[in-house]
Amino acid sequence: MNKMEKESGIKIPMDVKNGKNTDLLTKFPLLKRILKARSFQFIIILPNLFVFYVIILAGIIGSPVGNRNIAIVFIWILWWFLLIAIMVPFASRVWCTMCPLPFFGDLFQRMAFIKVRLGKTAYLRNKMFGLNKKWPKYLTNIWIQNIGFLTLCTFSAVLVTRPFVTSIVLGLMLLLGTVMSMIWKLRSFCSYICPVSGFLSLYSSAATMELRRIDNDVCLKCKDKGCYKGNEKGYGCPWSEYMGTMERNNYCGLCTECLKTCPNDNIGLNTRSFASETIIKGYDESWKGFIMLALAMAYSVILLGTNGTIKNWANAPETGNWGGFFIYAAILWSSALVVVPAVFYFFAYLSKLITKSTQSVKEIFKTFSYILVPLGLLAWIAFSFPLIFVNGSYIISVISDPLGWGWNLFGTAGFKWQPLVPDYLGYVQLILLLTGLGFAISRGYRVSLNIFKDEHTALMGLLPMAGFALLVTLAFLTFFIG
């Protein structure tokens, strides 16, 4: 429990001190009542669970043609867009609030949909079923997620076009999550394995919303620690976060348990400015940033690009060109894990050179890697706009014929594919990229001040990083509109 003992030296985040944030729960008492209800998470997961079930089924028994199958259209067009362009930037990990994947795992551990069981399980005051093993210390990072995500993405050309593959992958994730909940404590699957979780954690740190304690002193004096240990009102934090000191969005799955368990009503849902959390804790997080950036570039070339050869390489299961696939995979992995980080390292080195700082290049590299968050997130949003604007009309047709079997439930099955203002998306993408660049530089300066202390040095140290951000932005600009 040393995690809890360390709580005395907490720093209050800048934005809280300024009192700039608005607590949505104070502003909207109804919202507070809803979130505090024990049944809240269950009720919001339930419809998703149903859709999830339909999607898995559709992938298996429905049409193998991706754009005629709800599994592909709903997951890779609708869900993906909502996730990356709306949920993550504005509402942090709100997807995790409603995600159906851990449903059966939670159910197993709690043996209840809603009810709370008191008891004793390790430090928890709840009775939890299963083995409740501790997750191994050396895996307490997001490296598995990094590698898992990169692996999945290597097969993305297959994943996003074959309903069957999408179903199998989702099904396996559900199964793995459930099995893991029987062995390891709480949401070990979510925290360390779920491939979606990695980028949700990284990018949600930029979100304009946060769930936090309201008053530090109340937490310091609090004996109950219900948020962490659970009590009769709810379960201890399934993500093992302790609200009394939590400073970042990254690993809070917004499950709303702590809202219920905190006996002092000391938790608020704040709005805040974009990208206001500027801390990268470890190399695992830095690399997540590199992987995401490299993938956004790779997809811009492979999926949104025009070159048929690369498409055939990525699509080896159909073309049989496994040699090409190997080249493509090798390029993808080496750029994500080595080349992009190496380029960034070079810029970090320049930063040290210019500032003549005594800080190690590694430290500069890691701290500055925060700029990958706004840069990458906005690039991903810019990348995702064409997906929904160009292929969004499939949502209309597939909703009437989810399995591609010739049904016409709502009379919209015949709706022809019709891109929406495709020739103006470039303007939107330009503005999005500029936004990412702007945040990368302005937040980069804040980060730089943390590294170099005095303002002049901070600005000098920022210059190479601004150069990196500029190059990345120009690259995306060329992919999108050049």
Binding site: V65, G66, N67, R68, A157, V158, T161, R162, I302, L303, L304, T306, N307, G308, T309, K311, N312, N315, E318, V390, N391, K416, W417, Q418, P419, P422, D423, G426, Y427, L430, L433, L434, L437, G438, I441, S442, Y445, E455, H456, L459, L462, L463, A466, A469, L470, T473, L474, L477, T478, I481, G482
Partner: protein, 174 residues
């Protein structure tokens, strides 16, 4: 405080737009309009040529061929959608703005009026990678891209300059 922020925003926007303008003017090109005869071959899952560069004012005479299965040809920004049966020189074409009035033809004629990047996409489901089958027509001068590059560079300089000014001011006050 508020006024300061507004002033900053105005400065940034001005510098960014100046950059955009500089980009547009610097890369501006005016080629003499010509006639171009183009044959576009569609094959799972790309077009050949996959990228064509033309100039504003050009007249394009486009023939479409599908070499394996039936493909489509939906050209952004020019209100053209075609369905190309495999291995035939004739194909069907329509104006999407005008519904489903398909016409049989063996050539599309386009007078290029707008600069920019316009993608042509397959509009007829042709296999697994169909949703990603596309080519691009770059029409010079591509003001959006040229201006975009200028804007991005201007924006970076603007931001850095503002930070520099702010630091200086902070020191002067000390």
């Amino acid at each position: 405080m508020k006024n300061m922020n507004i002033k900053k925003v105005v400065i940034i926007i001005t510098i960014t737009l100046t950059g955009a303008l500089a980009g547009i003017l610097y890369f501006n090109s005016s080629a003499k309009p010509i006639r171009r005869d183009i044959v576009i071959k569609a094959r799972q899952y790309s077009y050949e040529p996959n990228r064509m560069e033309v100039n504003v004012g050009d007249t394009l005479y486009i023939k479409l061929l599908a070499l394996d299965v039936m493909h489509g040809f939906y050209l952004e920004g020019y209100d053209i959608d075609a369905e190309i049966p495999a291995n035939l020189s004739n194909f069907k074409v329509r104006k999407p703005s005008d519904g489903f009035n398909w016409k049989d033809t063996n050539e599309i004629v386009i007078i290029v009026t707008r600069g920019g990047k316009f993608r042509y996409r397959c509009s007829h489901t042709c296999g697994t990678m169909h949703p990603f089958m596309q080519g691009e027509m770059i029409v010079h001068p591509n003001h959006l891209f040229n201006g975009g590059v200028g804007a991005v560079i201007g924006f970076v300089f603007g931001l850095l300059w503002l930070i520099y000014k702010k630091n200086k001011k902070g020191h002067d006050n000390e």
